[in-house]
């Protein structure tokens, strides 16, 4: 019987790579066999399995990070066809081809698509995005949160520190110390909490420090880019109001 093997459909990927944190970036093309329902992660896994570029040369497999594979952990954020998003929820069927993949270069690139998002976690520490309840004895139950408030606060709690809003923001860059939209929204979340509210001034004052809320230039790219649909610009404006009030309160109260 004559061999009638059909060449399977291939998907082309153009990946921006970088071998080391301080190395120059370059692009490499890959062709991956198409599978129905494939996402960018599964394509990267295929490249890992068979690390050959489009010219058929052996190359090092592309490095990336991912965990949950259901768009809740934020680890696989990368720039796909010019927009930052999670690779796990980027379905190849819905992407323009060739698919261009690059690291979110607002952050320090560790290798290939792996970036270091430490600055986001440092920002959360800076604004004290937690509720301090630790102590030497049981403090008892805290005050209740109104259901109407819980509903919008829950939306803010969906933030997974993925870094997409920082990547999209024109004011988060090497010339600017702005901490970015995500931690500002977290201040709103923890200040809305009935127990967290008891320390709200500390968080507001952190937002009024260097690189704080004043770095926002209202481009509103963050709210358009957030994969979780968090109302980031509303949070920022709400915190603008709170910091402005706090400023006057401090001036007139002392």
């Amino acid at each position: 019987m004559a061999e009638t093997q059909v060449k399977s459909k291939m998907v082309k990927f153009i990946v921006t790579r970088q071998d080391q944190p301080d190395a120059k970036s370059y692009t490499e093309e890959f062709e991956v066999p198409y599978r129905p329902g494939m996402n960018v992660i599964s394509a990267l896994m295929e490249i890992q399995r068979n690390p050959k570029n489009a010219k058929g040369e052996n190359t090092s497999p592309v490095c990336w990070e991912s965990n949950c594979l259901e768009e809740v952990c934020g680890a696989c954020s990368m720039v796909i066809n010019g927009k930052p998003r999670q690779a796990c929820s980027a379905l190849v069927d819905k992407l323009e081809q060739p698919v261009r993949i690059a690291p979110m270069s607002t952050f320090p690139v560790v290798r290939d698509l792996v970036i270091d998002r430490s600055r986001m976690f440092n920002a959360l520490k800076k604004v004290k995005a937690w509720i301090p309840i630790d102590g030497t004895y049981d403090l008892g139950p805290g005050p209740r949160m109104a259901e109407s408030k819980r509903q919008w606060a829950y939306e803010l709690s969906k933030c997974m520190t993925c870094g997409v809003c920082l990547e999209a923001c024109p004011n988060v860059n090497d010339k600017n110390s702005f901490i970015g939209p995500a931690p500002i929204s977290q201040v709103r979340l923890f200040n809305a909490h009935p127990t967290g509210e008891m320390n709200k001034e500390e968080r507001l004052e952190a937002l009024m420090e260097e690189g704080g809320i004043e770095g926002c230039g209202n481009s509103q790219n963050c709210v358009r880019s957030c994969p979780k649909g968090i109302p980031l610009t509303t949070s920022i404006a709400e915190m603008n109001k709170a910091t402005t009030k706090h400023m006057f309160k401090k001036w007139l109260g002392v």
Partner: protein, 225 residues
């Protein structure tokens, strides 16, 4: 120093509206008197301003120093952004970019405009009464007329869009609906103030603003003819 840029940025935002926003509207109204009432009306508006009590004080603390701070610090703010309109061509991001571009244009325009008008008065090369004629001289040249239109439109855009961001930055418009409505209002302000400014520029090119000597000459020509 802790929190320095919070306060300096807040001051920058405030000065853009109070007093600079008020000043640009006042300037527009004064100029518009040239369109509405001609030279006589414009001259009396200029006279009214110069007769204000403490006029030098008002000019220094109400216009010049705020302008200097807002302009110089604004250039630094513009430098601090990396515009990314090509990747994120959203309306507000375009406005963000335009706010910085028009800010720089306005800065250059205002320096030039101040040098050719108010500064010449300070130097004694020009009197307040001659300003109308002087503007006529400048604006009769098509290139300068176009540069003035660009400068004025940039300045008014910067003011109107700045008013929008002022409302956000001070926490006055918080939700998306409030911000959308305020953007319509600010763009309405932009159109109205721009049109009124351009109409006054056109008015200054009118023959009645030509230097007095020319008026005398033409009058003489009329009588003789």
């Amino acid at each position: 120093m802790k929190g320095t840029s919070f306060y300096s940025r807040k001051l920058h935002s405030l000065l853009g509206i109070i007093p600079l926003g008020f000043f640009i509207v006042e300037h527009m109204l004064t100029n518009y008197s040239a369109f509405e009432g001609g030279k006589e009306s414009f001259d009396s508006s200029v006279k009214f301003l110069n007769d204000l009590p403490l006029v030098t004080f008002l000019e220094i603390f109400g216009i010049f120093l705020p302008l200097l701070y807002h302009g110089v610090y604004g250039l630094y703010i513009a430098y601090q952004s990396r515009n990314n309109v090509s990747n994120y061509s959203y309306g507000r991001n375009i406005m963000f970019m335009l706010q910085r571009v028009t800010g720089v244009i306005t800065f250059i325009f205002v320096v030039w405009h101040l040098y050719t008008t108010r500064f010449q008065v300070t130097l004694g090369n020009l009197t307040h009464e001659e300003l109308g004629g002087h503007m006529n001289e400048i604006l009769s040249q098509p290139i300068f007329f176009i540069l003035y239109v660009i400068g004025v439109v940039a300045a008014v855009f910067h003011f109107s869009n700045g008013l929008w961001s002022f409302l956000v930055s001070w926490g006055i418009t918080v939700g998306p609906r409030a911000q959308r409505v305020s953007s319509y209002i600010c763009m309405f302000v932009f159109v109205i103030v721009s049109v009124l400014f351009i109409l006054s520029l056109v008015a200054f090119t009118g023959s009645e603003f030509e230097a007095v000597s020319d008026v005398v000459n033409s009058a003489a020509a009329l009588i003789n003819g």
